[in-house]
Amino acid sequence: MIDTFLQQLINGLVLGSVYALVALGYTMVYGILGLINFAHGDVVMVGALTALSVCLGLAGVVPAPLALLAGAGAAMLVCTALGLTIERVAYRPLRHAPRLAPLITAIGVSILIQYSAALVWGKQYLSFPELLTPTSYALGGASITDVQLAIFLLACALMAGLLWFIKHTRLGTAMRATEQNAEVAGLMGVDANRVIAITFALGSALGAVAGLMVVMYYGIGHYFMGFMLGLKAFTAAVLGGIGNIPGAVLGGLLLGVIESMASGYIGDLTGGVFGSNYRDVFAFLVLVAVLIVRPSGLMGQPSGERA
């Protein structure tokens, strides 16, 4: 019983760390622009498929870790370029437009990326080459594979790195300043355009890593994989308090664990009335409940009036 619980917790944390990594992309952009970048999930998808293609090409040619590294590098490069392009072409011209305009543009960009990817990679499921054979380790009755462990640790390291970057570097300070008040930050010599571009680049690069993790972990990728992943990550960001970076991490991990626990126990708890296919319903129910009690999310400050 307890080992099943522990296993569900591990499943949830690994899944949650991927959600958190993607959620950061949403939350950083929202914090600075007040824009929900719905295309972010699809940027992650592009990263995933780029990594998949590179690894597929290199599998067997070079050692597995090198292939993965090359895949990650290529994905980060492509995603950063894509993130910067989206910002420059789609969002910057609309920065002072009514809020609805960039939101709808974001949805448009999302669809554009999806179907462009469908042209490039085709519409079927692609399988990721078996570069690593996961080794399982026993952990108090539960098992964890080295791949899971690597995903979890890498995600945590990246998130810690990002937090440090924002707190302790000049650029991070500039980002926080822009977040608080773009105009005043501008008067103090912060180039808002540059800061926003860097935010998009960072979020996209993190998303690229998350994309690689997802295709490597599940072994498959396809052109619309970004949709559900993006939706979940967005949910995680809202759960933690959108705009708040530690909140996104907390929200992601929490959402992963909730989903995992829900599919593990919901059937038994409701006497089989709701099956494990209700896990998403359950996850969103938790979101609704949290938002009723804390409308700005778990760690979000009530925004008051954004000047």
Binding site: E130, S136, T145, Y218, G219, S276, R279
Partner: protein
């Protein structure tokens, strides 16, 4: 949406006009004086399957099978009722989506197709069948195995595969007799196909004395099954049965091995694809799946078909291309016997089909189900699906559901009594 409508209607009208224009005059002219055929009539055959999305590889496989049949027939030249006929393929994408399936069905009907090969998913075939039935257009599904599809009382529904009332119990019997499974966990993908197959399996397995220790559901979009597999692991089954398609089955088997679950894994036709082995990787070894029909190399026309298919599309046959191919020949065969390309005239002939297709002998019972559809159980060995054994369905494991499908039973009765 608003802007789409007029153009759609216009397109449909145009198609309809074109159809009429080509259809009627030569028909009249032909009867008067036979020898010089001035024009050939174009007869449209519809194909409906998911051409995009996770099941696109299987849907395209079917469409390619249909296309191959159309081209083969045209290359040979076809004459029906003394008129030269050219077949034309109208392929539509239903996205494996029940709602989209009805839209597509209406589109095909509006395009004046004389018959439809499709859909792939039971969940799509069933809602679409009402539209074909209302329009009097015969529908042959190459792959939908949910029993309900042909049990709605429509005269236009046919299928060239065994249904799940046959497949589910066959799998269950195999699990109990050959694998000696005592405790079984059942998972389905919450679709008409997956759940239907899993239900049929579960009922038959229970009737056979096995214990169902867990019944779990996922969706046909999911790729993360760790949570439900962990739960199942706690119940220690010796077999896991999955009702669903390969995009789920592949990762599921992979995640099973990561969690250290030692249970055997089996499923239905939706996962018996090369793609499944690619997705699951090495843990695919030893996985079993049933598929209605004979093994491809034992199909009378199987070997030749596989080669032809490979040459034309530079792709391996995934699953139901041979069934799609044969379905077109069933239509053409019925048209020949009726001497007409009018669905109203040749529909009764479809039910009387007695032909040998790529997949073997094709004949329908009074509901439109394939008579004596064979079912083959495969196992993954050395990275490919190898046939284990073929069961001619109809009897054996049926008693539990005999009432549901009386029609298939008599023919197979001698076998069943053994």
């Amino acid at each position: 949406m608003k802007r789409l409508h007029p153009s759609l209607i216009a397109a449909a009208l145009l198609l309809a006009l074109q159809g009429c224009g080509k259809d009627e005059p030569p028909a009249a002219a032909k009867k008067a004086e036979a020898p010089p055929p001035p024009q050939e009539i174009v007869v449209k055959i519809g194909s409906a399957s998911p051409l995009t999305g996770p099941q696109a590889h299987i849907g395209n496989d079917i469409r390619n099978g249909v296309q191959l049949a159309v081209e083969d027939i045209n290359a040979k030249g076809l004459e029906i009722g003394g008129k030269k006929v050219k077949l034309e393929l109208v392929a539509e994408d239903d996205e494996a989506n029940p709602t989209k399936a009805t839209t597509v069905a209406q589109k095909l009907v509006d395009a004046k197709v004389v018959g439809v090969v499709g859909h792939f998913n039971s969940g799509a075939s069933i809602p679409a069948s009402k539209i074909y039935s209302d329009a009097g257009v015969p529908q042959i599904s190459p792959s939908s195995t949910n029993p309900k599809y042909t049990q709605q009382g429509f005269k236009t529904t046919f299928r060239v595969v065994a249904n799940d009332d046959q497949q589910g119990p066959t799998l269950a019997k195999f699990a109990l007799d050959k694998l000696k499974a005592k405790s079984i966990a059942v998972i389905d993908d919450s679709t008409a196909y997956g759940q239907g197959l899993a239900d049929a399996f579960e009922a038959a397995a229970k009737a056979g004395g096995a214990k169902i220790v867990a019944r779990e559901h996922t969706t046909d979009k999911d790729t993360d099954f760790k949570a439900i597999l962990t739960k199942i692991k706690g119940k220690k089954p010796d077999l896991i049965m999955f009702g669903g398609i390969d995009p789920q089955a592949g990762p599921m088997v992979k995640q099973m091995s990561e969690l250290g679950i030692k249970a055997k894994f089996m499923g239905g036709d939706g996962m018996q694809t090369p793609n499944f082995i690619k997705l699951a990787g090495t843990p695919a070894e030893g996985v079993m799946a049933s598929i209605p029909g004979l093994p491809r190399d034992q199909m009378p026309g199987g070997k030749e078909f596989v080669e032809k298919f490979k040459k034309k599309f530079n792709a391996d046959v995934e699953l139901f291309a041979p069934m799609g191919y044969d379905a077109v020949f069933v239509f053409v065969d019925a048209m020949k016997r009726a001497g007409s390309t009018d669905p109203a005239k040749f529909l009764p002939e479809v039910g009387k089909t007695q032909m040998n297709g790529v997949i073997g002998p094709i004949a329908f019972d009074d509901k439109g189900d394939l008579k004596n559809g064979p079912i083959t159980i495969y196992v993954v060995k050395g990275g490919i699906w190898e046939p284990l054994e073929t069961v001619i369905s109809g009897g054996d494991a049926k008693p539990a559901q005999a009432a549901a499908t009386p029609a298939a039973a008599p023919a197979a009765a001698p076998d069943a009594k053994k």
